[in-house]
């Protein structure tokens, strides 16, 4: 074990995540224009370069795209894309941490399954 803790999330990642969340929740629709780098920088009180980094990352992930001279837009299939990359992140990063804690606290598989099923039941009931 290296002894190092997981690093804190960088600001640009937080900006990207906030926008991704809005896409997932449907607050930002596909093909909708998102606020410019400058506007976002002013609202979030961060340097425009930081926002640009977030937008570049989302472009690479094909969550947003740029129309020349017109700004940034939510890509077609962005919600699906966000869902996919969130899922990957959950499976690769969150879940191993979770399993480590389970092991550390000696939580058995059955115990977990039972809790999970209860959770599913409760949450499904709520949605009905």
């Amino acid at each position: 074990m290296s002894g190092a803790f997981k690093k804190q999330q960088a600001i640009y990642e937080q900006i990207a995540e906030a926008l991704c969340d809005r896409i997932l929740k449907g607050e930002l629709a596909e093909e909708e224009k998102i606020t410019s780098i400058r506007e976002t920088a002013i609202t979030m009180e961060v340097n425009p370069n930081t926002v640009q980094r977030a937008y570049e990352w989302m472009q690479q992930q094909e969550i947003i795209y740029t129309k020349r001279g017109r700004g940034y837009f939510v890509a077609e299939g962005a919600a699906k894309q966000v869902m996919n990359s969130k899922k990957q992140e959950f499976l690769k990063e969150t879940l191993p941490e979770f399993f480590k804690t389970m092991q550390l606290l000696n939580i058995k598989q059955e115990e977990l399954m039972q809790l999970y099923q209860e959770f599913i039941k409760e949450n499904t009931d709520e949605n009905l």
């Binding site: 190092a4 600001i11 920088a41 009180e45 340097n47």
Partner: protein, 280 residues
Amino acid sequence: MIHIDNLSFYYKKKKPILSNLSTELAQGKIYGLFGVNGSGKTTLLHTLSGMNFPKEGTIKLNGFQPKDRKLGFFQQIFFVPDAVELPKMKIATYINIYSVFYPNFSESKLNEYLKILKIDASESLNNMSFGQQKKFHLAFAMACNTKILLLDEPTNGLDIPSKDQFRKLMLQQMTNDKIVIISTHQARDLDQIIDHVLLVHDKKILVDESIYKLSQKVKLTTYENKDALPKDSLLNYKSGIRGIEALTLNTTNDFSDLPIEFFIQTCIEKPEIIKKHLTN
């Protein structure tokens, strides 16, 4: 552009404040000027604005030498000192008298800024608190729309909401043809808005690097104990809540935010290490 070439300044020759300091500052950037008390930050700002004259070396600022004190030079620079001493008069009178010196002054911008900073434009300056006066001075400075804006400890004396508004206004007024230099001890007030770090240490500029590059070069990691610290890449460490917080060289490709206060502390405490690893 600002070119500083081998600048030296002293009041007593044997006690130089700045010695052979050189750097270049580019348009479109907000520079954070850091350094301990007495390191010469304010002296540097005074020299840039023509209030002090270089004892040696030259400064060129958009083609002007500050020490020549040409009209065209004063029209494109604004300096806001740490402690403001504004004349005893109404805000409107102040604006009438002083705005004429600045060809790009915008009254509508000033009113907008004053509104955001919650300053009543019908007030008299002498009836306002230190913080209110400071905010007025900052708003006026930004509304003058000069090519060069020098701010000495702008967040000093500002309450928490005002700091917030100040950051917003700073980003709002920023354009590609401006150079802003902000000297500060409150690194955390401004670390998210500045582009570039200038750190004055031992009469010179020790760190002259963009925030982006610095955050690629160094990172903060928490280790469980001292034995886990990486020997090769370690710059500095201190104990934190969850273990040992270490500032290390970033040897991976991942990108994290620059832990600015710890970084500056390290520069001041261990300039040799910083020189060795981070300056060329």
